[in-house]
Symmetry: C2
């Protein structure tokens, strides 16, 4: 029986449990705390930044993968040196950890992106702003997620606090029609399989709703999105799931916004919505097993995040009123604004799926992020 070790005990690790159970894969999780979302599969509770802890955890695993991208490079390299199959490997993960490195590498690959620059001083930021209509997005190269570490500035002093710690990434403020996400999976032997491109709706920098496939999408956009993600997966040597967040510009172009090298919120629709979910595909990919069919199971799938908490009585109410909507609860304690679960509706009709998913999500009190 193959053994996959997952570093991190969040909901992404949790949602790997069902396909591992189905495929007869033993899943082991290195969790941060005993009450982590993926506690059912936790075999170790410890610090993912501590090399001896991680090395001990990895022993006996056929592949090591991740619930998040925060494992330090030196720990990743110690794993590789110890002979572990780290997937994705440190060379690829670097580009998910460092946005400046990511932009520089994507530029080499010729992938379409917003204008960007590495900025180390107020003068450099001022110059970028002058060239881009006086407004820009500044991002810390490391540690940002869900809208954190991202700021729109209109003043050359708008990032002074971040510049104290080193260079930042500055990007043009893209005039976009909507946001898309393109997921692909790649296995070490090279096979790459894309899912259909999806539309993501963000609220306060956090993914709120996903429509799969992205409604009213031209073939040119579909093709561009799949090509970009395939180029990135191959170019960066990603193994497992790669999520590429994209802007569809008002001018009809597709530009890379962010990358994630793991199952991603924009792919949760695939649990019910695809023949092979992102969690199953990720396990298959990191084991270098043949990838499954990512085809959609219904004309439309709508996924809506639930924030804060999913108390039992609200789950019961949602199930009672929407018997065909699937409810996912991540087993976390309540905390305002935190992703606590999601709901998914499949349909032949977009309006119907949106209606039912929103009706189910409405049973949860904290269903919008703070």
């Amino acid at each position: 029986m193959p053994v996959v070790g997952v570093i991190g005990g969040g909901q992404l690790a949790r949602m790997m449990i069902p396909p591992a159970v189905a495929l007869g894969i033993e899943l082991r999780v290195l969790a941060e705390a005993p009450d982590s979302s993926a506690r059912l599969a936790a075999t170790t509770v410890g610090d993912y930044r501590d090399a001896p802890t991680v090395l001990a955890f990895a022993r006996g695993c056929d592949a090591i993968t991740f619930d998040h991208e925060h494992v330090p490079q030196e720990v990743l390299r110690a794993l590789v040196d110890a002979g572990a199959a780290v997937r994705p490997g440190p060379d690829a993960l670097l580009y998910a950890q460092d946005k400046l490195a990511m932009r520089a590498r994507l530029a080499e690959l010729g992938v379409p992106m917003p204008d960007w620059a590495r900025v180390s001083s107020v003068e450099e930021l001022e110059s970028f702003l002058a060239d881009h209509g006086g407004r820009a997005v500044v991002k810390t190269p490391r540690g940002g997620y869900d809208g954190k570490g991202v700021r729109v500035v209109e003043d050359a002093h708008g990032a002074d606090d971040w510049l104290e710690s080193g260079p930042v990434l500055v990007e043009e403020l893209v005039s976009f029609r909507r946001e898309l996400a393109q997921l692909v999976a790649r296995r070490p032997s090279g096979e790459v399989r894309p899912w259909p491109v999806v539309e993501t709706v963000q609220q306060g920098g956090v993914c709120a709703e996903v429509f799969a496939p992205a409604p009213q999408t031209t073939e040119a956009i579909e093709r561009a999105a799949a090509e970009i993600a395939t180029t990135v997966a191959n170019g960066l040597g990603v193994t497992g799931v790669l999520a590429v967040e994209l802007f569809e510009t008002t001018g009809g172009r597709v530009l890379v916004n962010e990358l994630a090298m793991r199952p991603h919120n924009s792919g949760h629709f695939s649990i019910e919505g695809s023949v092979t979910s992102q969690f199953e595909q990720h396990l298959r990919a990191v084991l270098d097993w043949p990838l499954g069919d990512p085809e959609l199971r219904a004309p439309v799938t709508v996924m809506i995040n639930v924030f804060g908490a999913l108390p039992d009585h609200q789950i019961v109410a949602a199930l009672a009123h929407q018997p065909s909507v699937k409810v996912h609860a991540y087993g976390k304690g309540p905390r305002a604004g935190r992703k606590a679960g999601h709901v998914t509706a499949l349909s032949d009709d977009l309006d119907d799926a949106v209606y039912r998913a929103r009706a189910a999500a409405a049973h949860f009190e904290f269903s919008a992020p703070d």
Copy 2:
């Protein structure tokens, strides 16, 4: 977070893990052995016939349910006396444990069945044979499954060994066109939801293939099957999933063959094939939560059992050649003839689903029971 305790650590308990993870239900399993199929969720290893073991296991569970029907009545009654929500309860489970009691109760309910009799002597068996063309099926009232405890006799002395231990059930040998299975779920507050009736193909008394929905089925048969199962579920006070195995006679009638009060092999198709799988529905039902939509997700789903073992290299071969077939491995050690997993194919077309499911199953060496 609701807690469901499952007595028995086989593949049925194992397949409850994914929907428990999705719905945020804590699943606890009382397993027979440390290497049981459902070991990931095992919180106790012990003997399900030992009341103190079972009582200790049940503490803190919001509902107790089962992977099998072998828990003795006195243990079930001790659980009820201790205040546990036992679902299904001992009064219902009796009819899944004792085939003579089942036949007598179904007769009271007016459910169509083969001719049957309780037989305590060679003379009584001789008389039944004389009335039914000289052949009949004899069954031990208790402990039979997967073809065990069932025998076709043509001689009044053909059941002498069993008659030594007490009365047996004798049934007419039904001339059937095919076998069907009708699954329903019932929650304590009374709601009953049937899945579409399916066709089951048995080999050597063991379920080998399932076609969902049963192909070329008249509305009269569909309605009769659903009505029978609903009548049985209500009449016996079943909570959770009830599987009713049926004969469709050459004369176009539907007769009850066997009952199971738990998720059942004939319902494995529903994991991918239904909006709500039998495992999710069972958990919802035993918690008295609202039942989900059992509607089919595709025009045809075909499930094929795999026996003996699913070695990794055979799983890889099956996945490589059939990227849209779902493979389920039960995490059991190899043993010839034992159910070790199953494969499922969905399609718009029966022939296509059968072809792909059989092609995937053919990668497993021991794919027929002994």
